[in-house]
Amino acid sequence: MWVGAVLTVGIYSYMLYKENPLYRLAEHIYIGIAFAITAVVSVQNTNRIAVTPLLNGQIVFIIPIILGLGMYTVFVEEYRWISRYSIATLVGVSLGVVTSGTLIPNIINQITSTIASPSGATMMDWFNFLYVGIGTICALSYFLFTREHTGVLAPTARLGRLIVMIALGVMFGNTVLFRMSMLSGRIEYLLQVLRLIPM
């Protein structure tokens, strides 16, 4: 635990003090270990889901192994064309899987929930409904570039811009909350190592 505490202090020493050898050491150790863990887990995973079944007689797993190895040919200019088949397969499969799954939850359900009025609702529910509805229309009008933002489009585009800025502010606030949560986790770890709080 003391190793973790020293490395944590080392990482934060850049911010709290200045760049120093301990920070550099901790940074390099972190990058090295992160890559090592990723590499080992990836190899283990490939071995488990493709290599082992292949060696147990399931010949069909030779296909993903060849496609996966083909990806590495991107580093050799002479054979880079092989990687295009692997990338094309990957993109095609991903596109097909995502497209089939995205229609209902990401498009139909979102439109339905935006335009459907709340049932059995409180004042707050109606406010949210109107805010989301008007905000959606105004934000979309702001991103309408085929027509100049004049006339009836001027106030809606202006309001849409304001709503987009509010939304971005909310996202920024959530990001700050996330970062502070991560920091609190590290500080809690340090306090536990120093036995100022229980484990």
């Binding site: 911010m15 799954g101 939850p105 359900n109 929930s113 700050v176 609190s184 500080i187």
Partner: protein
């Protein structure tokens, strides 16, 4: 120098002082908890109600998509989810799309000792790491064994009695996501197969997940440390997340004060008619 306003002095202040201030404001409530009240949001209550509605013997899939860095945000909620589901007699299948998922599994076992008393393979299974996002989730919905021919410990999946009852999406009572990765479950399990989806998101995902909650694609949602603290309150097991909320609230109060201080000179200048 003598004619500098307080705002100019604050502006020229070494930034490291602000960073130390943040560290102190976070650390102090962790050592000496304040006990600020926590109100429970409807989305968190809906998640908890969903957990308590699980029947004995139901199989629940829990996706631990969190790394060690997000333990502070999500581990508390995961502990509450696990304890609540075990109280209901559910059977649990854990998987994870993070390379250090095994470390999270070890930590979960430390925080929920009950997991060690269960019959592994019958009441609980840890299948381990997987990759492939939507493609993997889509394939798991049809045949879990094609993505997990063995569990994390190398046991062939056909040797796990629980997995004989839980090899496709329709065998599961619900899917719970942790931290991230919710979209693939919504798109590949929720929409096509009607499997209820819910879970915990990191704070950054709060805005992104709200539309799914509004449209009913997820039935419950707890966001960040606050969500974990709310779950702890609902379950009656205050723990790390509840304590951390004091630190988070104090830090955010500090941020509000600093933001106001930073904007006051601009406002005063405008009132005076300056640039």
């Amino acid at each position: 120098m003598a004619n500098q306003t307080i705002f100019e002095r604050l502006d020229k202040l070494d930034r490291r002082i602000y960073y130390w201030l943040i560290v102190i404001v976070i650390a102090w409530p962790l050592v000496s908890p304040i006990g600020l009240p926590i109100t429970v949001k409807p989305s968190t209550r809906a998640l908890y109600d969903g957990l308590t509605a699980v029947q004995e013997g139901d199989v629940v899939l829990i996706d631990i998509f969190m790394s060690v860095s997000t333990w502070a945000e999500c581990m508390g909620g995961l502990v509450v989810e696990t304890n609540t589901l075990l109280d209901r007699g559910a059977r649990l299948v854990y998987i994870g799309d993070s390379v250090d998922v095994s470390r999270s599994w070890d930590r979960l076992n430390e925080l929920v000792p009950r997991l060690g008393t269960l019959e592994y393979g019958t009441d609980v299974v840890f299948l381990g790491y997987y990759t492939g996002q939507d493609a993997a989730a889509s394939q798991m919905a049809v045949d879990m064994s094609s993505i997990f021919p063995a569990d994390h410990f190398g046991t062939p999946i056909e040797d796990l009695p629980l997995m004989r009852d839980a090899n496709s999406a329709t065998d599961y009572a619900m899917v719970l996501f942790t931290a991230e990765g919710e979209v693939k479950w919504i798109q590949q399990w929720g929409a096509p197969y009607g499997v209820p989806v819910a879970g915990m998101g990191i704070a950054m995902k709060g805005s992104a997940l709200a539309p799914y909650l509004a449209s009913g694609d997820i039935f419950g949602l707890a966001v960040g440390v606050r969500g974990a603290a709310e779950l702890e309150k609902l379950a009656g097991m205050p723990a790390a997340a509840t304590t951390t909320m004091d630190a988070i609230s104090s830090t955010h109060l500090l941020f509000v004060i600093l933001i106001v201080l930073a904007n006051l000179p601009i406002i005063f200048n405008k009132i005076k008619g300056g640039s």
